[in-house]
Homo-oligomer: 268 residues x 2
């Protein structure tokens, strides 16, 4: 059954729109994903929305039809609405074809099996949702196990982060932890903690990295706090030939992550 929603004042429209704000996401433990490409990636990763909004004809696009069918089969609710209401939900003038509501996907730190992957990305006090989403996307590409968010990072389930992740939000394990939790957990098992830092002359291509590698990325403006750097097994830096002294956080993470991957590929 497909429910119709045509009124802006419908309480569900208001409720879903509120998921654009962090406090409502936290309260409801739900988040929004928008657009056919991302919802289809989510579906391929096995994630289906609890609520699926679409506008127009249910069989106008085969991917929309597939999403509707799969959502219903999984017990989710499908709602047909107007392009205007979809615009309101997504906060964009150019409405997406589909908007989905999903349950939050945090994994507890203790549930992680670090051995399933050679790379884990650990971000500390990351502020930019685009960077966070981009790091998830890179993590997917390099076969990372997931992203561990340390201290007060921007919400990975914000609309901007979900969009930048291009669906990797649904394939990467996402953990939130305090440094004081993370460090004992890390040291209770195998793993090399690698920080990128301006306070070292150690070239990032010099070490032979071990698996699992925990790649620690600091805040965009401040970098890693000094005590966090002190806990790293290795501090490395990328060569910087220009006037600037640092790379964008998502770029630095990707350059490091591909170095780890390339070393592993070279060892076969």
């Amino acid at each position: 059954m497909i429910r119709e929603i045509t009124g802006f004042s419908n309480p569900l429209v208001k409720q879903v729109r509120q998921l654009r704000e962090k406090k409502h996401r936290r309260l409801s433990r739900r988040f929004l994903a928008e657009g056919l490409r991302i919802l289809t990636e989510a579906h391929e990763a096995g994630a289906l929305p609890e609520l699926l909004f679409f506008a127009g004809d249910h069989d106008a696009h085969p991917l929309v039809a597939a999403l509707i069918e799969a959502t219903q089969a999984a017990g989710g609710e499908v709602l047909r609405t107007t392009p205007d209401i979809l615009s309101k939900l997504s906060g964009k003038d150019n409405p997406q074809t589909v908007v989905g509501v999903y349950p939050e996907r945090f994994t507890p730190l203790d549930d992680i099996d670090r051995g399933v992957a050679d790379i884990w990305i650990v971000a500390q006090a990351l502020r930019d949702p685009g960077n966070l989403g981009t790091i998830l996307r890179t993590g997917d590409a390099v076969g990372a196990g997931g992203l561990i968010l340390i201290d007060d990072c921007v919400d990975p389930f914000s609309v901007e982060s979900v969009r930048a992740s291009m669906g990797a939000l649904f394939t990467q394990t996402i953990v939130q932890a305090r440094w004081e939790q993370f460090l004992p957990w890390l040291r209770a098992g195998a793993g090399q903690l690698i920080g990128t830092s301006l306070n070292t002359d150690n070239d990032y291509q010099a070490p032979r990295y071990e698996s699992p590698a925990f790649l620690l990325v600091g805040n965009e403006a401040q970098g890693l706090p000094e005590p966090y750097e002190a806990e790293c097994d290795l501090l490395v830096k990328m060569p910087m030939l220009g006037k600037a002294d640092s790379l964008n956080a998502a770029v630095a993470t990707a350059v490091m992550a591909y170095e780890l991957l390339n070393q592993r590929r070279a060892r076969g």
Copy 2:
């Protein structure tokens, strides 16, 4: 002499605020840069604003005082204003300490000396200002000669791009060209055109790249048009181990650019 501007209705305030819009930047061939860090980077790169706005005390911060002095010495005008007007200029609730107006920095294609650098980045129909600014920042880091924008790219002088570049906008040469101009120019001299593409199995670490390398990056959603790929000397791809089939455009550019740099470093 420091002029005072305290009225929102001052025509200069309106004019400068309009530089947030592309059409006004194009008409006046001027752009805005905001924040002490970026204006100081610009200054270090030899670029000083024609107009410098600041709020508060002119010697409250030594970097502000240095900017004021250098701007005046270079014949620019310095304007003291209120935090509210600075907020209005920068379109942010949290006002920057300084806002500068600079002349556009496009370099004609024919003025480029390709031999000055081993890497040039060529972006085609790039849409995201954050990606463009981030690519400039990466270009600075890897010692690229500059960024050549092909077809209809987002404006490199938008406030978002300037911010993401973290000052690299002032150190990198920026060119705008049509593909039909660029290609004959490229082929009239030395240079290897390298495209990243999903339509190849050629691993990005397999080739031995030549200098100068022209790294061609396509549009975020579509990648490179097929005829553009056909003109490349090399098509390569990064390994993708996850579900996604592509990286963020700025990330892909950085991973490629560091591979070029690393090969050159390895050759010594």
